[in-house]
Subunit: 335 residues, 2 copies
Amino acid sequence: MKKQVTIKDIAEKLGFSVSTVSRALKDHPDISIKTREAVKELAKLLGYKPNRIALNLKNSKTYTIGLLVPETQHYFFSTIINGIEEVAYENNYNVMVFQSNDKYMREVLNIQALLSNRVDGVLVSYAKETRDFSHFQQIIDNEIPLVFFDRIKKDLHADTVSVDDYHGAFQAVSYLLGKGCRRIAIYSAPQHLLLGQNRLRGYKDALEKNGIPFNKDLVYSCDTYQDAIKISRSIFKKKDMPDGLFAVNDMTALGAMKAARKLGISIPEELKIVGFENSLSSSICDPELTTVDQFGFEMGKKATKLLLKRIEQNSFDYTPEHLQIKTQLIERGTC
Amino acid sequence: MKKQVTIKDIAEKLGFSVSTVSRALKDHPDISIKTREAVKELAKLLGYKPNRIALNLKNSKTYTIGLLVPETQHYFFSTIINGIEEVAYENNYNVMVFQSNDKYMREVLNIQALLSNRVDGVLVSYAKETRDFSHFQQIIDNEIPLVFFDRIKKDLHADTVSVDDYHGAFQAVSYLLGKGCRRIAIYSAPQHLLLGQNRLRGYKDALEKNGIPFNKDLVYSCDTYQDAIKISRSIFKKKDMPDGLFAVNDMTALGAMKAARKLGISIPEELKIVGFENSLSSSICDPELTTVDQFGFEMGKKATKLLLKRIEQNSFDYTPEHLQIKTQLIERGTC
DNA sequence: GGAAAAATCTTTTGCGCAAAGGTTTTTTTC
DNA sequence: GAAAAAAACCTTTGCGCAAAAGATTTTTCC
C-alpha cells in the first residue's frame, strides 16, 4: 500500500522542520502567516490527513467507542445503532461494532478486541448465554467507561439504559384487561435477563391489581418468531385457550397472529394481542399490532450521551446512573 | 483514565529490558524458557493486552475496515452488516460503521474520518444524494482498497458486489405476466442509481419479450413505505388501475398492499404484487408477499471477502471485479 | 586454560504527531 | 549601536511496540 502523506513530507518539501509544519497547521501564533499559508496550501495539495493513529498513541485517546450487540439485524438493535452512530457522529467519535451472536465465548473474545483497540468507552447489550460477567469487569478494572443498554446488569460499576419494562408490561396487560380479557397469556423472555423478570412482574402486578389470580400455566418461555408460531399452534387448539396475549416482542406477537390466522381464530374478537417494540412489521401486518413502543433510537442516543459524559469527565469515580426509557402503548387493531 | 499495562511495566517489575519482554511474549528463541514463563505469568497477572494502537502505528496497518451505509436500521443493510461483521470477525478484523443518512455532505465527512483513521479498506453503499464521487477517488488515490456494494459505481478503481437487479426484475415481471397480468406497474428506484436502471431494464425487457408494449405511465418513482401508500391510493382509484405491480423493495410493496386493503382491492385476485428483498415483514403480512430474495447476508460476506483479498494482496494494481449475487423469486401469496 | 561458539539479554530506532523547551533571526528601544 | 524584546523557527522527547544490531554472559571443546 501507498504511504500516506505526513507532516514530515510537507516539512521536507518546504524546508521547514516537522514542528513548524505541525504548528502551522494548527495556527499556532509562533508561526508566521506566510509560513502557515504555504504549509496549508501544500497540505491540501498533497491531500494530507492527520494520522489519527499517531494521535491516538500519543494522547492515549482514540475517539472510538466500542459497541457490542447480539445481532445487528434485529430491528430493535439496528434502530439503537442508528441512535448511537448519530450521537457519535455529532461528537466526532467513531463506532466500532461487534456482534456476539448471543454466544458467550464470542462476546468474551470481542471484549478482548475492544480492550486491545483501546476504545474510549464501551456500549453493551450482552448475549443471552452470558452468565459470567468477569469480561465486563475487566473493562471496568481498566477504568474504561461502560454503559449497558437494553440487556442490563446493575451490580457492576456501569451505567445502564433500559426500557421501563415493568411499566410497559403493566400498561399492556392493564390495557388487555380493560378490553375485557380475563385469561391473558404471556410469552416471556428468559428469566435471567432483567428485562424478562421486570416484564413478568409487570404482568403479574397488572393482573393482581385487577383481581385476576396469577396462573403460571399461562406463562410461556418464547422469544422468537418461529417459537411463537409453534407454541401458539398448540395453545390455540386447546379448549381453554387464552383470550389475551402479551408478547415479549413484536416478532412473537406476529408469530401468534400467523398461527391464529391459520387456525381461523379472529383477532381481536377471539384473541387480543399486545406486542412490545413497535417494529416496522407491527404496522404492516393486518390487523395492525397494538404494541408498546420501546424508542430504540432514543435509547441509543441516551446511552451514547451518557457514555460520552463519562468519557469526558476526568474521573472514573462516579456513581452509575440507571436511566429508563418511558414506553408508550400504541393502540392499533389487535385489541 | 487509568493507564493500561504496557510491556515497560512488566519489564521494570521483572528487571528486564522491554525488548526481552516483547520477545518473551512472542516465544522468541533468544529468550530463555525461564524468562519467558516469568514474563507471561506476570503479563497475565497484570492483565496485559498488547496495545493495538502502537502496532497500528508501527506497521501502518489497523486491521480495521470502514463501513459506510445510508442507514443501519434498514433491514437489508442491517443484514448486510451482519454478513460483514461475520467475515471480519473470522479474519480478526474490526469494523467501523458510519452512516450517511443518505446525505452527500455527511458522506464526504465520513470518508475523511475513514482516511484519518487509516482503515485498511472500505466498504461503501453510497447516499442517494451523491452525484460527485471525488471523495471516493480520494480513497483510491491513497491506494486503500474500496468495494462498493448494492449501490455500486463501476467506472472507478473499485470492486463491486451487487444484486443481479436486471435478472431479478426480469424474473419478477415475467412471473407476473405468467400469472396473467397485462398491465403491470413498476415502483422504481431513482434512475441515477445503477440498480434503478437495471431493474427498470429488466421490467421493460420482460414486457417486450412477452409482447406487451412498454407504457411509461406505469412507471412510478417511489421507494419508501409512505410514498407507496400515497401513490398507490391515487393509482388504485383510477378506472384503468394496473393488475400487477413490481415494487422496488418490500416496503413499497407492503405500502401498496396496505393501500389496496383500505380501498377494498383484493390481493391477489384484483392485483398481484411482487416485492424485492425478502424482508422479515414480507412473510409476516397477509397474504404473504411474493418477492425476490436479495441475500443480503451473502452480499455482506462476499463484499468483505473480496475486500480482505485486496487488502492482503500486496499490490494495488488489480483489475476490479464486479460480482453479482443471484436473486431468487420467492413465491408466496400475493400472486 | 583460553578462544570460539552459543545463549541470553540490552540499546537503539522508527512509526507520526504535538508539546516542552531550545536556538536563531529580526525588530524594538533608548 | 548595542542590549533587550519579540518573532519565528528548530531539536528533542515520548506515546507502546518490534526488530535490527549490539553487548554481555555462559557454555563448549580442543
